[in-house]
């Protein structure tokens, strides 16, 4: 029906957008949002591949895992961001370069 390439284009487009957001944006929260993007895009990809085979539901189940993990990870990431903000007093990623060497 709908050719599978469309779905893959969609999911890769979303992934690249998420990557772009992670690379380009300066705000930590927005980078977090980009990570969510990438996770969700990969989830779409899983679903698409599971849809191609009528009898296997692995993709769909894995997507559920991804969503749950995304949520848990978001909670932890927000906690880290909060601590980072408390330490560095800023959310600008460019300013957090103490690992520079």
């Amino acid at each position: 029906m709908i050719p599978v390439e469309n779905y893959i284009v969609l999911s890769s487009a979303l992934f690249v957008i998420g990557l772009a957001i992670v690379i380009v944006k300066k705000n930590l929260i927005v980078v977090l949002m980009g990570i969510e993007f990438m996770l969700n895009a990969s989830g779409i990809n899983f679903i698409v591949f599971s849809k191609m085979d009528k009898n296997i539901f692995t993709g769909q189940v894995f997507t559920l895992f991804i969503i749950i993990l995304a949520a848990a990870e978001a909670a932890v990431a927000l906690a880290i961001i909060l601590n980072v903000y408390r330490h560095f007093k800023t959310t600008d990623i460019d300013k957090i370069n103490q690992l520079k060497g």
Binding site: L19, V22, I23, I93, D94, I96, L99, K100, G101
Partner: protein, 715 residues
């Protein structure tokens, strides 16, 4: 020297050793006096005189051994020069025969006398020690010259003599005129040496040897070869002519006679030693030694030049008012006689006149020196009263016969010898030369050249003039009244302040005056043929080998006996008439003293010609000196403007190149280094940027490398 058998000796021969010792002693005197410091206690003059006296004794020993005994030829190898075809050996050595030992004796007697005389004359001189060392060096050079057996050694010592004369004439080198005179002497002698060098080159290239005896033998062989004798011997002519030019330079003959009057700038002992007796006679001695190499045309040139110089010198001496200049021109004149003697084939007579002239001319110079020294001391004493005068000026002398009697007597003896008065030595020797000239004139005229009679005519005329000029000098100096006193009539007792010289100055002069008497040289004062000197200088000619000149000399000596009476009569006539004329003009007609005063102010034609030495100096100045000076100026201009600018250009060029090299160094070499550093830094910067600490950069790197791996994996 002609047919003598020479015995060869090596270093151990008795005569050779004596000669070497005699040669070495003056050199030792020179070295000792130079190496001694200024604070030595011995009077350098006395030391030098003692050494020279020692050398005189040695030469006397040598003389007694060799005179009329065997003649010695000593030679040794000095240098070996490797050439393509074997090696050339340069030899040195001595040729010791009658002529040599007598000449050595004469030179050493005069040198010793001059040393003694200089002890007084140079007293108070600042460079006293240097003077005596230079006298010793000169004596060494002269002795080496006399003893030499080959042309190269002759030339070496010839140059040494020239150099010694240069330092001695320019002894008071701070006086510009003296320095100029020394330079002139040396330069004129140097010009003459070109002749010597030409002769050396010709003879070496022809014969391959410098040895005098070998050359004589070779020439005789060439002449005796029937084919060769008809071919042109022009190369021999040029060799002989070169030797004659060399002799003309050293012995002050025309046209190279301009240096001798100016050489009077040197001290009087120098003039006595060098310009009376030794150095100027080196030219005559050279001609006698190399007589075999002179061809007949050369001999004719020699005769003419000698006569001309004799005449010119005598004429120039007639108007001088400087006592030393009179004696200088007189020397030129007498040397002309000697050279003429060599030319007319009477070389033994020339040598004899050389010996007698040495004694009386040196004596004349030394007697004049005594007068001049006394006048100098007088001048020094009068200097406080601002009186300045030329001590050599005869116009200020006069009446000295009472004040300096010894000087008067000796000066008179020497003058009589110079004038050729009988009973004095000069008569004997001059008579022989005049005899030879008459014989020559008859011989040559017999071959069709009638102008040959001019030569004895001018010779006798010169003798007449000789009596005149020396009589004039005698009259001006010793007779009349002391004109210096008359000039400064206000200053009293000038004449009382004139002191005679001490004994040590008088002894050598008296000694020389004894040697100017005829008795020493010949038992019969009227006949030179009885002279023991002359008869042993004359030698025969063997038929085995002889050269044209030797044949000529022998022929003339055999026919000259015919003219003895004629010559003696003519000489007597000349002497007597000269004395009479001189007495009349200079003693009786006193106004001639005023003529002397007028010479510098308003001379007539003959006076000017005579006084200015036939204007030779001026002629040379306008022709040669100017052209050489302009050449020198042009060369110096080229040197400064062209060569120096080229060298400056080279310098600038090297500086420019250095700047370019520096720029290259800065830009390229340093640039390379900087490039390396820049590359490293940039690579480092790039590599460092991976560790920026920014998370997003890490993301970028990760993604990039991941994509690259995927691409690489699948491509």
């Amino acid at each position: 020297m002609d047919n003598i058998n020479y015995i060869t000796q090596n270093f151990t021969g008795g005569v050779t050793i004596t000669a070497i010792i005699m040669l070495a002693i003056p050199l030792v005197s020179f070295l000792l006096l130079n190496l001694l410091g200024g604070n030595i206690k011995i009077n350098p003059g006395i030391l030098a005189s003692v050494l020279l006296g020692l050398a005189l004794v040695v030469s006397l020993v040598l003389f007694l051994n060799v005179w009329n005994s065997e003649a010695i030829h000593f030679t040794f190898n000095w240098l070996n020069v490797k050439t393509d075809s074997g090696s050339i050996s340069i030899r040195l050595g001595f040729l010791i025969d009658n002529v040599t030992v007598f000449m050595c004796l004469v030179v050493l007697i005069i040198s010793f006398a001059v040393h003694l005389f200089s002890i007084d004359y140079m007293k108070g001189e600042f460079h006293y020690r240097r003077f005596f060392s230079l006298l010793g060096f000169f004596t060494f050079s002269m002795l080496g010259f006399i003893l030499a057996d080959n042309l190269l050694m002759l030339f070496i010592f010839w140059e040494l003599i020239g150099f010694s004369s240069y330092v001695l004439i320019g002894f008071w080198f701070r006086k510009p005129s003296a320095a100029r005179a020394a330079r002139k002497t040396f330069i004129v002698n140097r010009i003459a040496d070109i002749g010597f060098l030409i002769a050396l080159m010709i003879l070496w290239s022809r014969f391959g040897t410098f040895d005098l005896l070998e050359i004589k033998k070779n020439i005789a062989d060439i002449i005796s070869h029937p084919l060769m004798a008809t071919h042109g011997l022009s190369w021999l002519f040029f060799a002989g002519f070169g030797l004659f030019i060399a002799a003309a330079g050293k012995s002050a003959q025309f046209p190279l006679l301009v240096w001798l009057p100016e050489a009077m700038e040197g001290p009087i002992p120098v003039s006595a030693l060098i310009h009376a007796a030794t150095m100027v006679t080196a030219g005559v001695f050279l001609l006698v030694r190399t007589y075999a190499m002179l061809t007949l045309p050369v001999l004719t040139i020699i005769t003419v030049t000698g006569t001309l110089s004799a005449f010119m010198g005598a004429v120039a001496a007639l108007s001088q008012y400087d006592l030393k200049k009179v004696l200088a021109y007189s020397t030129i004149s007498q040397l002309g006689f000697m050279i003429m003697g060599v030319g007319v084939g009477a070389k033994e007579a020339a040598l004899f006149h050389l010996f007698t002239h040495a004694f009386f001319k040196a004596g004349l110079f030394m007697a004049a020196g005594m007068i001049i020294k006394s006048l100098s001391m007088l001048k020094f004493r009068l200097s406080a009263q601002n009186i300045d005068f030329d001590v050599q000026d005869m116009r200020l002398m006069g009446g000295l016969k009472n004040k300096m009697p010894v000087v008067f007597i000796t000066f008179s003896v020497f003058s009589a010898a110079l004038a050729g008065i009988p009973f004095f030595s000069g008569f004997l020797s001059k008579d022989t030369i005049l005899n030879g000239s008459i014989a020559w004139a008859h011989f040559i005229a017999g071959k069709g050249i009638t102008w040959a009679y001019l030569v004895p005519f001018f010779a006798f005329l010169t003798s007449f003039l000789t009596v005149l000029y020396i009589g004039r000098a005698l009259a001006l100096t010793f007779f009349g009244e002391f004109r210096l006193q008359k000039l400064h009539a206000g200053i009293s007792a000038i004449s009382d302040l004139l002191q005679p010289r001490p004994l040590i100055a008088k002894i050598p002069v008296v000694l020389l005056s004894i040697f100017s008497l005829a008795i020493i040289f010949s038992i019969n004062p009227f006949s030179p043929g009885y002279s023991w000197v002359l008869s042993h200088l004359i030698t025969g000619v063997s038929e085995n080998y002889s050269t044209p000149s030797l044949n000529f000399s022998f022929t003339l000596s055999t026919i000259s006996g015919h003219y003895n009476l004629l010559t003696s009569l003519l000489s007597l006539l000349v002497a007597v008439s000269g004395i009479l004329t001189g007495t009349y003009f200079y003693l009786v007609k006193k106004n001639n003293l005023e003529r002397v005063n007028r010479i510098t102010v308003a001379p007539d034609f003959f006076q000017a010609l005579s006084y200015n030495n036939w204007y030779l100096d001026r002629f040379y100045k306008f022709t040669l000196v100017r052209s050489f000076n302009s050449i020198a100026v042009a060369s110096s201009w080229i040197d400064r403007k062209v060569f120096d600018k080229m060298i400056d250009g080279l310098g600038i060029l090297s500086v420019v190149i250095a700047h370019i090299a520096a720029w290259l160094d800065r830009s390229f070499v340093d640039g390379l280094v900087k490039l390396t550093a820049w590359i490293t830094r940039t690579v480092g910067k790039i590599a460092r940027s991976m560790q920026s600490g920014k998370i997003q950069d890490y993301y970028i790197w990760t993604i990039t490398i991941l994509i690259l791996i995927i691409l690489w994996w699948f491509l």
